[in-house]
Subunit: 550 residues, 2 copies
């Protein structure tokens, strides 16, 4: 068996190692255009920022180790330029010597990854304009940041924000420009609006709903001209507006690709040619939840796909279950994570959904160091099945999203979240964990115990029938800031002041995070009022207002 693999990072390297474990006799050849196989691409921003100090630590599985340990034939700085499917041959070029040759295969695995997009604006090719994909890019940036003072990052996705943080670590005055009206576009806007505010507090200038129109040389430096008319000085510009699947080889060979360019594969990662597999960021996968075709570049799935392709080559029935879209990004001390569908994705796909917000502490409030985190849970109005979740905060975010990712994988409902028995000691969680809390709120909505409205209602000025807005926090909290038009009656005295509330008008109530508002809703429902609680309370209201530019 002769296996040829194109691309020796995540998916390709995993496929190679798995293939070797399954067959000592296979000939396994890894072609890698870059200088090193299996490097830590997710670590590159942190190398540039000096968080990772040793470049060598980015070489996760060095060439020599792959050769000795796995008896792989690793050919770096070598590009596969064409596939001849009939002859089962690839054309190869050694990028160092220029030598060209052909290589036969029995099975071919494509793991070429994805290419950073470079918007076609004037100046995009200036030497001070960078993208970040491989070690060479990282080395160039690593050098450049040490002599630069001002940076512009175009694109506020994962890489853009990680780069921005690391540029700040290196002392650069950094501006981030993002076309969307929010950072981290896969998340819902109100979840990440507080993160945007936090980044501004860290000295990053954020230009949302804006775009770079041109990059102009300015002496030894540059000026980035924005659509808004603003000009921003930059000694270096990082383009991180997204990636496109590296499909050139596949398309030239007549393999099917999807509408967004991803190489199409079946559940075994086989392309439309049975002898050619494709894995990683270059492929179009199915969404775990609704089986829709998607393009999500993630390291975990790439590794699993590589393994599955190797399994299938050796006659095993391994199948890829689909990608859930579990993702996480840390910026300074703030973390945003998600899994499954966002609200905007559910809206776009016209999937019915309900949503719940909670803002609990990451661990017991009485133990030092507890921090609030915000969880948004999306679930089916029919059976409570979980569709997606997002979490933002300083601590415990990764844990809760992992728990919810598993719940989605298992097809669990919000009722299951109520019953989850998670590890509790005061420094790690609460007897009622944030995940339980999200379950309580969501299940309460489905059971009819907890009528809910969302902050959008309070921000929609076109609505003609205004509800009576009841703030059930303490007078001190009310005084520090409240929803315009709200009347303040603390939940602790509400039972004695029911005569101040209207019986002919819907009431919406809110507190800081939704707990007291829920109790107020229970009290008023039982006394015959028409009442709903605002999900996530004033905390969600503020985030929503921020996201809408109020």
């Amino acid at each position: 068996m002769k296996i040829v693999i194109v691309g020796a990072v995540a998916g390709g390297a995993s496929a190679a190692a798995r293939a070797r474990r399954l067959d000592e006799d296979a000939e396994i050849i890894l072609f890698e255009r870059g200088e090193a196989p299996s490097f830590a691409n997710c670590g590159l921003p942190y190398f540039i920022g000096g968080v990772i100090q040793q470049r060598a630590s980015l070489l996760v599985a060095p060439k020599q180790q792959l050769e000795d340990r796995y008896r792989l034939d690793v050919r770096t700085r070598t590009e596969v330029t064409a596939i001849d499917r009939d002859k089962k041959i690839v054309n190869v070029q050694d990028l160092e010597t220029g030598n060209k040759y052909q290589q036969e295969y029995d099975k071919l695995i494509l793991s070429p990854g994805a290419t950073p997009l470079r918007p076609p604006i004037p100046g995009a090719d200036l030497p001070g304009v960078f993208t970040l994909r491989d070690l060479r890019d990282a080395d160039r940036l690593h050098k450049k940041v040490r002599e630069a003072k001002h940076a512009v990052v175009i694109g506020a996705g994962f890489i853009g924000l990680e780069m921005a943080e690391n540029l700040v670590h290196q002392g650069l005055k950094t501006t981030v420009v993002e076309l969307a009206d929010q950072i981290l576009p896969p998340w819902d806007a109100e979840m990440v609006a507080p993160v945007a505010e936090y980044l501004q507090g860290k000295g990053i200038a954020l230009k949302l709903s804006d775009a770079a129109e041109a990059i102009e040389e300015d002496g030894t430096s540059m000026q980035v001209r924005l659509r808004s008319g603003e000009q921003v000085a930059a000694d270096l510009v990082v383009m991180s507006v997204g990636v496109r699947p590296e499909n050139t080889l596949a398309v030239a060979a007549g393999l099917a690709v999807g509408p967004r360019g991803g190489i199409q594969v079946n559940r075994h990662m086989q392309t439309t040619d049975d002898d050619i597999y494709a894995v990683g960021d270059a492929v179009e996968v199915r969404h775990f939840i609704d089986d829709s075709p998607i393009q999500i570049p993630l390291g975990g799935p790439a590794n699993r796909q590589g393994r599955i392709a190797a399994d299938h080559i050796f006659g095993r029935n391994s199948t890829y279950r689909g990608t859930q879209g579990t993702a996480i990004v840390g910026v300074f001390d703030m973390v945003a994570a998600m899994t499954g569908h966002s609200e905007k994705a559910l809206l776009a796909a016209k999937h019915p959904y309900l949503k719940a917000y909670v803002h609990p502490k990451d661990h017991a409030g009485y133990y030092p160091g507890a921090e609030s985190l915000s969880i948004k849970l999306l679930f089916s109005p029919d059976d409570g099945k979980i569709s997606g979740a997002q979490a933002v905060g300083r601590k415990g975010v990764d844990k809760r999203i992992d728990v919810l990712a598993v719940a989605i994988q298992a097809g669990m409902t919000v009722y299951d979240l109520e019953e989850m028995e998670l590890a509790y000691a005061p420094q790690f969680g609460s007897a009622k964990d944030p995940v339980n809390m999200a379950g309580f709120v969501a299940a309460g909505m489905l059971r009819g115990d907890h009528p809910m409205e969302h902050a959008e209602l309070l921000l929609d000025n076109d609505s003609d029938q205004k509800p009576f807005i009841l703030d059930v926090r303490s007078p001190a909290e009310f005084k520090a800031g409240h929803v315009p038009g709200a009347v303040n009656i603390s939940v602790d005295v509400l039972r004695n002041r029911l005569d101040e509330l209207p019986r002919d008008q819907p009431i919406v109530t809110y507190c800081k995070i939704g707990m007291r508002g829920y109790l107020a809703t229970r009290i008023l429902m039982q006394r015959g009022f028409t009442v709903s609680n605002i999900g996530g309370g004033y905390t969600t209201y503020q985030a929503m207002a921020l996201s809408k530019g109020f």
Copy 2:
């Protein structure tokens, strides 16, 4: 509806709050023997240790708040002394005034908790001997530690170790005495043996397989006399040898209790009297996995049970799913957590099982601060269903046990662990998360790809057929310590030295954590050798040896 609740901490307070949300008109009376309702019992050791500095922060829901917000009738320092089931009346005594009275109920909820055991040894009642259950105990200890220099903690369970840590924080020379031959008896010995070693490194004297036989006054101090003959000086002694369910009221009223004293309840938390419910540490519950009756005092389950009892009183069909035994303890920087069955529990119950060990980093090794953690996974040899998991390490332990707790709740298998899509960025995890790794190893065993032996084999000196022991680590690693009798051939050169291996004798191979050993096993299997890998490699071997006193 008149609801009387005995005990106003976790389960009782949850039941009361839920009952109020369900019925504004119910009369809800909470009797609490202690001075405060709803206090943070899991925080008491940290209050004593000065980690939690404000005593007020232990009062999670103060009396006044429960009265104002939930309109509960909270009667602290008041004891319920008897139940008259026929008349549906409880006898009550005010502990401050001595006044006695009767209180009618429609529904009674018992949430009396559990009492710390005090072994009947001479001196157990000396004033310097403490147990830790409530705020009074905590106040007394809080005062005492500030004038003490030497402490003895009897019992190395959760509370014992948390107390030991906090006594060290207060500068006390601390000795821990434990009857079992390991700390943290719910865990398997080899998982916590490294924690015991770590505690000794923190200056704690550990006396395992030993017991206090007497405590004797010695001037203003005491001497604790151990079964081993040793004497340990102590200005204070903390007894933390376990708890027994507080069942006096229930037994006197003729309610059924289990063999270990727990009040017996159905899935709705009803006792053998339909109008009396019981929740929390006082009840016998069913194990989530095998439905066996168990007694596990945990805060999370107590809260859920309180909620379920209130639901059922108001005609809802809420049911308790059983307790999984998810638990966690932090001592200094080390964390041990578990969920589901331990190996010793599976052995005792004669459940068939397999086990897998992994020792991955908590996050990507190339990102600073990565620490190893150890995971032990127990699963069914038939279908791979997960039976239990334990994890020990400095970071990321709580997250992995929570993920595995959900997997158990969902009835997932080790094959599901392989496919889990968890949140990955280098500071939070790895593209192949520790949970995925555990799944790979376990599924490899079930598929026959990964023949496994365990370290016990190497430590069993009675075995007559000795395997050939092959250490596939580097010569430097081998030199630093290895299994007696092992032969060292690094996996990187193994393929060239097959002629040094026996074809007529079983081979067991090992490396540091099991990865290279697995590859060596794959190589040798395919070359016709009879070979197994040692699960968890030399790391598990060392922990196992430590646990067996080698």
